[in-house]
Subunit: 885 residues, 2 copies
């Protein structure tokens, strides 16, 4: 027989804090607190397994659930010495949802359940307070009517308001017992009118209605959306907690409140919270009365306050973490209704972590595991001032973290011009292209109407460490008229907006920003992380600025230096275009000869900055048409500039047009068909390396071939590459060590990795492209249907943000196994966007990569995530060892 | 020690016919003939292993080769009783290339090698014919100068011509011994002038020069191109045959000729060939003198002719196949210089196969294995009249077989209009799109400047069984001026051209065509094939015409019915567009309601024709933007037609634009996000099926979900599909059996096939898309670099024509193994273009698919290829069994 129901309190210890998956966070912690003999009203929890069963069986329950609930209720009646539905002394209960992870958007709470036209009299008798009893009843009808029966809360409020206006009453406290009774009648009529059903009088019917509502609320659109946004699996399910009522609203010796055992904003070790005298839980949240700071309790409810301070101590010591608690005081007696690990800002998280370790409460390992790596982003970028009033006007993808505000501009040129005048601008585009790079540089932030997490705008912005919101579908840009609509807002060039790339939100006007500051706590925690992690962390960087930033954030090398970003540089693009448009070999070689010293300079600077750390340089990757002008105007401009014929340029552009550029003439396919381009790049690398070596700085270039699918491609390019190396070495009378490697970004490359590995010294997994090809999914086009796919559970998470372990991960494992079979010393790393994603890093640790590489700004996140992955891996080994022993 | 040199003749029997890989076809068969005691001049063969060594070791030879060649030469001298370079009685040799497969484009032959200013006197003395000797010497210089030293043959011819003009001589026979001697001097001077080198006098130097030249010719552009076109691996290499000279030019009792043991054009059992009296081999080919029919030999050289008839008999009996032979008669003695299986037309191949089986010479299995499945195409389409004079003006890909001629038109509308006037037209487009379908229907053939073997034009044309040449890169189309350039030819609308989709060639003007005819031999052979094969063969068809043709060609069902082809129908496209452009659900449902009866009719007709055979229907696959108008003019036209706003249409078109449509919002992604489209299609299928069933015709629909990558997608769609089925069944009070399956066309689908298989009854491998995604290669864009990739050996064959077994094949094997692990009865088939490719079919047989599906016109090819694959598989099993035993 399955156990579906777990009791807590009054001696029952069915559950504990470790059973959060089964009992939900709330239920598990209630059980734990009860076991600690803290004052928890008794109750029981219906498990998350019931929720899973519910959705797998057309919203029905296991056959034995009813009996188990009935037994638990009987036991609760015995503990409380009251009976559910008893007209003389009715047991009332609260019904609350409680998922394994905190989940706003679900049915929250129904209080006072069990009241009806009969039991109300028992409550009056026992409490001796008819006004309290009728108030409780009307509260019950309102909550139940709202969350279970679907009558909107404001309709109840309207009745109450009308009554107060009619009788010229300001505060609820002035409403008499009889008046509340009339309101109860009016509420019940409202329910009947709106739903066609009577408000249920039978407590059992009430109870099961509430249980149904909790489980049903797991799949409401709000809950689904929240889970998608927060990467929570729909499989977890929710539990239902049924608990004997205690009342904070029975008089001046009663109250209710919420508190944090330390300050959740700063992490300081001060008791922090607020409470209300003579109130029920929802009053604190509803904001009708202003709560008082928790310290005032020492004056109003001294006994309970002293108990509460003890509880604070006990819970922090027991859970060894900052707690977020809810409590109620009934006639001077303290009851604990909830405890959970407190949400906190990144800064607070670091301070608490360091403090708890110093206090000897937790180990460094534990401290590291508790931190959310992703959250570190907050510390590295400007954030919105949390105290500011804001008007959200749109939402896109959190494409590149940080907040920025500025005037709207619609073109890259305009961005550059306005920025040159000292203005802050936000570049707003339908989508960006390589031609916008200078405008992206000039802007404070980038906002696009289209494109996913790995669209051009997103990738480039992350590389630049610049805030970006991409794929904000509600934005309609009219380029000609220089204006845009965002939902209901009509905006024009020069209007001020604020974007938050960490949340994807777009705000009207200027929102004050808080600049980031790296605390000592940050350095301390990073130090612990570095000591724990096995994975090395490199950065994706191609500019001196990025390389320096990468070093500052602790990168141990460059894992991806994208040479095309150098090609896109506005000062070079002309030569690049001339090279592409060349009508003969000589003209092409001439253009390349002009590019050579510039590329050499690029590499010199980076080698110099990286000072002997490995630098992985990827040879030219994107299709050549990306570099060319496309509109007639741009073609004409370039023709005028260079004296080339318009028709020649246009024909060549048409010629190079591709239906599916992602699967087109790019990567090593370019290198094989236009050998002179790669040869120039390789020459630049080696010339720069030797020059830098001669200044006394160590150099260690790793040359990486993109988009290889066959060993033959690598053989062809390797031979040419080695030839150029030999040429340069003999010209310079000096040689250096270097490695040749390849990206693994095509399924075929992974499947034939044994053949590829025999030719190279390293693999770097290009998980962006590998995701695109393995899933047949264009990163730039997926925004059309990805929201629907996440909602319908096709993907648990956006596979461009978090690695699809089941599919793409399988290819990576195949590649590693095959690669090592033919080259046991092959170095393995990853340089796709997933290299900076904590969940993905966990996988990369598991499969034994040597390093991850990510945007400079994500390096600290990766360092922490890598440490967490190392610790978890070690724990897994211990666990397994123990099982074996 | 490696054996690099194999001797034949004069008692040596180092080689035989089975050693074709090592000795090349020519060498192996010379050895075999010598072993049969046929009159073969003695000689030896340098193996293809030397060729491989040569290219793997920077064009150098194994260290022991020189000695082995020297030993073989010494042995040859002993057999012949002559010495190489002997001034009194010089041994002369021929040097010929000989690859395992016939290879035009390589160095062919150097005769008379060993002659120099000294040995010429020995030859004069031994032959007693100074004129013959000097003529032989000048022939040697000309051949050697041309193929070894790179002096163009025409420069030699020019000297000879000038001499003849100066001396008023018409025939070579009038040239005197002295004159030939002078010409020899002039030839040597030409060589010196052009190459800066003396013509080599040393026979050893001559010999190694010729050997070098044979091996070097393996990689000439012509040879490489030939191999690419004919799917021959560059790894095979060539052998070199060195053979004692015999002379057909020593007088009237000498001669030389070529013959076929049966007529290679018709297959009839008649001796067929031609010969020349007093001539050397190259004279027959050169066409200076007109050869005589072989039967005349009975009069001119009766003794040799009788011997030759015996040889004909012996060789056919021995090789049990029609032979193509070369021979020389020296002073009435017959010498055999070559025998090989004769090339033949498809018709001849069938006739010979049937005849040899009837004559008891070979088994049906052998007959089937010898046929080239690909060649059957010739029998199913019009072909160019081989006797016609033609002017080739361009070359593209052999996208869809058959030949067609007609007037040039540049738009689909024009094609339709001209065809309606009774004209034959060839539709010439840069590329085709779904909007051109009506024009493709109306045209006799299609020619495109861009696009690969699986571009829209190619796929649709093959489906229609219409000739198509795609990706003819040398064509430049000027749509506005209605003209095009093909190489040097300027053509305009209305000009006549001919295309041959079986060869990819484009011809100027009208070339007469020969209509196809299916012989009894064809039926006989197909009957044998059907008895042998295990794989079922289905057809890809969506129109009644195609379905009927498929049945006629022996298809056992439809493996792929592409419903979008029905959507593209000009009479429906308006409703389809309305459905896509609908602003609300109601308008969309309205448009779908109009499409429903038409789709139902489509399916009714096909079910009716297929009469109970399985019909696999793929739900809508292409991205929606493919159905929309794109140019402003087309948008305006549609706006006028429907009254929709221009801006709305344009915005929606822009909205649906995709960067990489192949990886975009298509396949089941459409079905999941626009459920009503699939629901309409499914309803149409079931309504049609039940209607047809009620007419007494059996129906067996298999519904196929395209582009699934996850089990969840299938679960979602399956649930909806089953719901619609239930609805229709209950409306009609009748139900039918059906299957639900999925395409496997994404790497992820293959890797997670166990999860997918648990949800479906069949997999159909969509190898086009699987190739695109596994290789990261857009079929429509690959023509930019595929030629270079084939040339450089990255791919042995175009992976869109022949399955990339190593990469894509691995995914198929993984999918089969995983699919069966969770669903042991899962049906497996393939419906990509590879389903009609003989080499790929061999793989599909090996991995155990149940059926292949291909264009109707390829069904006979697939039937034969499947039979061959079955036989080979059985032979492999026998071989293994024998090895084990």
């Amino acid at each position: 027989m399955n156990k579906w129901v777990y009791a807590f309190g009054g001696g029952d210890r069915d559950g504990n804090a470790s059973m959060r998956e089964l009992l939900g966070g709330k239920g598990a912690n209630l059980a734990e607190m009860a076991s600690l003999d803290l004052p928890v009203p008794s109750g029981f929890t219906i498990t998350t397994d019931v929720c899973s069963y519910f959705y797998k069986h057309k919203k029905s329950y296991p056959s034995d659930l009813k009996q188990q609930v009935a037994d638990a209720l009987t036991s609760l009646e015995q503990k409380m010495g009251m009976r559910f539905g008893d007209v003389n002394d009715p047991l009332l209960v609260s019904v609350r949802s409680g998922a394994p992870v905190s989940m706003p958007g679900m049915m929250d709470t129904v209080l006072n359940l069990g009241l009806n036209d009969d039991t109300i009299h028992g409550l009056i008798k026992k409490s001796g307070d008819a006004r309290f009893a009728w108030d409780s009843y009307r509260r019950f009808i309102q909550m139940y009517g709202d969350v279970v029966m679907g009558v909107h809360g404001s309709d109840f409020e309207a009745i109450l308001l009308a009554f107060k206006q009619k009788n010229d009453i300001e505060n609820d406290t002035e409403i008499t017992s009889e008046a509340w009774q009339n309101i109860v009648t009016a509420y019940k009529k409202l329910v009947k009118d709106q739903t066609g059903k009577d408000f249920p009088n039978d407590p059992q019917e009430q109870l099961w209605g509430a249980i149904d509502a909790v489980f049903a609320s797991w799949m409401t659109p709000r809950a689904v959306t929240y889970r998608n946004i927060n990467d929570i699996s729909a499989d977890l399910g929710t539990a239902v907690n049924i608990q004997a009522m205690v009342f904070g609203n029975m008089g001046a010796d009663c109250g209710t409140g919420v508190a944090f055992t330390r300050d959740p904003a700063t992490g300081e070790n001060v008791f922090y919270g607020e409470y209300l005298i003579n109130a029920q839980g929802e009053d604190v949240v509803a904001g009708i009365r202003t709560p008082q700071p928790i310290s005032d309790m020492s004056r109003d409810l001294p006994k309970a306050y002293k108990e509460l301070l003890d509880v604070r101590q006990t819970l922090e010591q027991h859970f060894r973490d900052v707690q977020d608690i809810e409590f109620t005081i009934q006639q001077n007696k303290l009851y604990m209704l909830q405890t959970r690990a407190a949400k906190r800002t990144a800064a607070a998280a670091l301070k608490v972590a360091v403090a708890l370790v110093e206090e000897g409460m937790i180990t460094k390992e534990e401290a590291l595991l508790r931190l959310q790596a992703q959250q570190l982003d907050q510390l590295l970028h400007p954030t919105l001032d949390p105290k500011a009033n804001t008007t959200v006007i749109g939402k896109g993808l959190e494409a590149s973290p940080g907040a920025a505000c500025g005037e709207i501009v619609f073109t890259a040129d305009e961005a550059e011009e306005q920025a040159a005048l000292g203005k802050s601008v936000i570049l707003c585009r339908i989508e960006t292209s390589p031609e916008d790079i200078h405008g992206m540089h000039a802007a404070k932030g980038i906002l696009t109407a289209r494109g996913g997490m790995t669209s051009h705008a997103a990738v480039v912005a992350r590389g630049m460490g610049k805030p970006c919101v991409s794929g904000a579908g509600s934005i309609i840009i009219d380029l000609k008229k220089k204006r845009m609509r965002v939902g209901d807002f009509a905006l024009k060039e020069g209007d001020m907006i604020t974007i938050d790339g960490s949340t994807g939100k777009v705000y009207f006007g200027r929102v004050p920003l808080v600049e980031p500051e790296l605390s000592d706590d940050f350095e301390t925690v990073m130090g612990w992380a570095d000591a724990e992690r096995r994975l090395k962390v490199r950065a994706n960087a191609e500019t001196p600025k990025d390389a320096r930033m990468a070093l500052q954030f602790g990168a141990e090398g460059i894992g991806l230096c994208r040479t095309e970003h150098m090609f896109f540089d506005p000062s070079r693009i002309r030569r690049v275009r001339e090279m592409i448009l060349a009508k003969d070999h000589e003209t092409r070689m001439d253009a390349l000869a002009h590019l050579l010293p510039e590329q050499r300079q690029d590499f010199s600077e980076i080698f110099d900055i990286m000072n002997g750390l490995p630098v992985t340089i990827r040879l030219l990757d994107p299709p050549l048409h990306e570099f060319l002008p496309h509109s007639s105007a741009d073609i004409q401009e370039f023709a005028d500039e260079t004296g080339m014929e318009f028709d020649h340029i246009r024909n060549r552009v048409q010629d190079l047009h591709e239906f599916n550029p992602m699967l087109g003439h790019r990567g090593c396919r370019l290198g094989i068909t236009f050998p002179e381009i790669y040869e120039m790049q390789i020459r630049a690398i080696f010339e720069a390396a030797i020059d830098i070596l001669n200044t006394g700085t160590k150099v260690f270039p790793e040359i990486m071939i993109p988009l290889a699918g066959t060993a033959q491609e690598i053989k062809i390019l390797k031979q040419r590459l080695e030839q150029v190396a030999e040429d340069v070495f003999s010209e310079k009378q000096q040689s250096i060590d270097y490695l040749i490697g390849t990206m693994i970004e095509l399924p075929r490359a992974a499947l034939c990795a044994d053949e590829l590995a025999a030719e190279v010294s390293f693999f770097s997994f290009g998980t962006n492209d590998l995701t695109q090809t393995a899933l047949g999914l264009s990163r730039d086009d997926s925004s059309h249907f990805m929201p629907s796919y996440l909602e319908q559970g096709v993907f648990e998470r956006d596979p461009f943000a978090t690695l699809d372990v089941e599919g793409v991960g399988q290819l990576i494992e195949i590649a590693i196994q095959k690669g090592r079979s033919s080259n046991k010393n092959i170095k393995l790393g990853v340089c796709g966007e997933h290299g900076g994603d904590p969940k993905s890093i966990q996988f990369f640790e598991k499969v034994g990569l040597e390093y991850v590489s990510c945007s400079p700004f994500r390096v600290p996140i990766a360092r922490l995530a890598a440490a967490q992955a190392s610790i978890r891996a070690r724990q897994d080994v211990k666990l397994k060892t123990r099982k074996v022993a």
